[in-house]
């Protein structure tokens, strides 16, 4: 279990460093940076490379936003295997739904409960 924590820390940290370099060196906005990372996640899954990273680093690969692209692509691919081309569209949110639904639900709850502190 210890190596799992270790590699989660290292891999997760490194993905964040890539993001930081996009901020500071490439001078990209957070919006651009996140979009590129998400697309990278999807592309890596297309080459079948993201799953091994998840196996290896656990949350170090599932917690960064790249995993979002990965699971979108993964859901689409899995459905496509079962239902052919239609599955590409229908399967998209098969795996990912939790992140988006959690963000929507908690975002709305937060809007009811909290005020911005400024």
């Amino acid at each position: 279990m210890f190596p799992m924590f270790f590699w989660a820390f290292v891999v997760g940290g490194l993905i964040c460093v890539i993001g930081q370099l996009m901020f500071d060196v490439a001078k990209l906005t957070p919006g651009h940076t996140m979009s590129i990372l998400v697309v990278s996640g999807a592309v890596l899954d297309g080459f079948g490379l993201y799953e091994p990273l998840v196996d290896f680093a656990g949350a170090g690969a599932t917690v960064p936003i790249t995993s979002f692209g990965n699971s979108l692509a993964h859901g689409a691919l899995m459905e496509a295997e079962k239902h052919g081309l239609v599955g590409v569209l229908t399967g998209m949110f098969e795996v990912t739904s939790s992140g988006i639904s959690a963000a929507i639900v908690f975002g709305f709850i937060a809007a009811l409960v909290f005020k911005p502190k400024g």
């Binding site: 930081q20 592309v43 691919l77 590409v88 992140g99 908690f106 809007a111």
Partner: protein, 157 residues
């Protein structure tokens, strides 16, 4: 769509002069911070994953979903209590790249615009930052899956 394509000599001269005084971003320090905080957030994620594996019927593969939801819940608390923006100033990408940062971008926009009402304010603005991630995530996943499926159908893969 810029004003013009290349800077004039006057502009160039000034931009060079300005650059001398411009405070440099502490790239190395920022990277270290991003690494440590980002790594720490992922380690917490790993702990939550193990929690769901031990105490609930989740396997290593399926525990990712409740982990992400839990992280976003934590992100809601930190955002609501006005802590996440301070973490963000310290950690940069370290707190922006993990899903908690995605959660923060949705939640901060939602609470920011509650003064404009629930429908037009919260509803209309919730995804003003995170929308781009959804768009490019979904669209690139669509392209990737489409290409792979077609290649498989044609027997290339």
């Amino acid at each position: 769509m810029g004003r013009k394509t290349s800077p004039s000599p006057v502009e160039k001269g000034y931009q060079e002069l300005q650059k001398k005084h411009e405070l440099k971003r502490p790239v190395f320090k920022n990277c270290i911070r991003a690494f440590l905080v980002g790594g720490f957030i992922c380690t917490i994620g790993q702990a939550i994953t193990y929690f769901y594996i031990y105490y609930f019927d989740f396997t290593e593969q399926t525990a990712g979903n409740p982990t992400v939801a839990t992280m976003i819940f934590l992100s809601m608390l930190l955002t609501g209590f006005g802590v996440y923006d301070h973490i963000g100033q310290f950690a940069g990408a370290g707190s922006a790249v993990p899903v908690t940062g995605f959660g923060n971008s949705v939640i901060s926009a939602a609470i920011e615009h509650r003064t404009e009402g629930m429908v037009l304010g919260v509803g209309g603005n919730m995804f003003k930052l995170a929308g781009t991630v959804l768009l490019f995530g979904v669209f690139s996943a669509f392209i990737v899956a489409l290409v792979r499926t077609l290649l498989t159908m044609w027997g290339v893969l």
